[in-house]
Amino acid sequence: MSGKEVICVENLHKWFGMLHVLKGITFAVHEREVLVIIGRSGSGKSTLLRCINFLETPSSGKITISGDSVTCSPGRSIKREDVLKLRLSTGMVFQEFNLFPHMTVLENVIEALVTVKKYPKSKAIPIGEKYLNKVGLIEKRDIHPIRLSGGQKQRVAIARALAMEPKVMLFDEPTSALDPELIGEVLDVMKKLAFEGTTMAVVTHEMGFANDVADRIIYVDQGEIIEDGTPEQIFSNPRDERTRIFLEPIRSVQHV
């Protein structure tokens, strides 16, 4: 893969109690690359994504995002400002949107610009408007999230993450909480971002999206990466039997 590494994950382990969820994961995401992570529920793919920005603290391993590294091992305490650096380089979109219900759409988008980046409002508002435009929701700027549809909420959440101008966008099953007829509008926004060269790591069950947009797909099973390749390799010629079994019903339904 060309381009320099934006995310580099080395030998990542995660334990929940006695449950070994991630078993020595190593992978990288390069600049302008769209990496799609697929796998069954409970395979550890969401945990993997959440370890990248330390929403889950890795049990051990090393995370590097555009030059800033944090190394974890049992008993070693992690500096808060190191985690903060990683978080400022990443933008996260959640399955459940997690918009702030007490703020308007625009306030949601500019909140972190004002509190974290310390921008004055006069500087933050144009940035917020720019990204609301990008997701096509500028006309909703002054209403509260409760009045948006699920798809609109997720698009605002994407704008909110983009407004921080991160190096890489992390999507954690962004369409899994949506009604089927609303999935398209969110995927369209994500496709547009991918087309514009945004570096993205996407956990999803949308195999059509993976096939169309991904530069690379990794298949995670029981906390291990068992497949890593282009959509073509993964969908038409998976190396591992487990990937084949996982993809078989999806291929027959979605005709990818």
Binding site: N53, L55, R80, L84, R87, L88, T90, G91, M92, F94, E96, N98, L99, F100, P101, H102, M103, E111, A112, T115, V116, H144, I146, R147, A157, R160, A161, M164
Partner: protein
Amino acid sequence: MAVEAMKPPPVATPDPNLSMGIQLMALERRERLVHGLKIALVWIVLILILGLFLLSLDFDPNYMFQHIQFVLAGAGLTIGISVVSILIAAVLALLGALGRLSTNSIAQGISGFYVSLIRGTPLLIQIFIIYLGLPQIGNQFRIHGYIGLANLFTLTAIQSGILALSINYGAYMTEIFRAGIQSISHGQREAAEAMGMTHGQTLRKVILPQAIRIIIPDIGNQFIAMQKDSSLVSFMGVWEITYRANRLARVDSKFMEMFLLAALMYWVLTIVSSWLESRLEKNLARAYER
């Protein structure tokens, strides 16, 4: 009270279904109105029964009316003490809740100890300890020449009352604040922290504004309870509602008249505060209306 089923008006409309909808709405509204009137009637009857019962004894309503002003003059103090105390209590409760939810063992220990100790002892005892007990410590300081410290431990009756009520209600409200903070979904915190907000920023900008809206009814409830518990400061001779009523009651042996008058005043106060609370609740709910 007879509730007659309303006869449908014989109006010919082009859409028979539409007229049915209008008719149903009218019936529903009428039912609600009748229900409300019935409840009001029950209240009136109960008040009349109570009044007649009192008048049949040697109850002197004129004495009550003549001294309304004297007792009412204490309402300002009652309200003042309650308002100041609930504000201080809210600050203590917030700190207590943050301590209980903290990962820091010292903060957790302190707040757990505070809640346990204060909830486990009677308010009246706390008032006496602060008003009568603390000056003993103050005297020790005075003997050793620390006048400033000595004065700090010797509080006036009103100061003691406010301090006791604040500490006491702060302990109870710690649990309310803790529950409110915990009721905000974990995703809210994650979204804020993923964007680089610190714990403090997340708390101030995201968690508390939502938690406070949720606990406003509980805080209102505590405020109502506090207005009545503020009557305990009358033990220290603070001239609020209870003290004034008690004083007259004893002079003229008009116990029922004066204490009933005091009770009525507290009742009116709490009705006003719960009305204010529901207004505030509605205001804060505005962002959540579709």
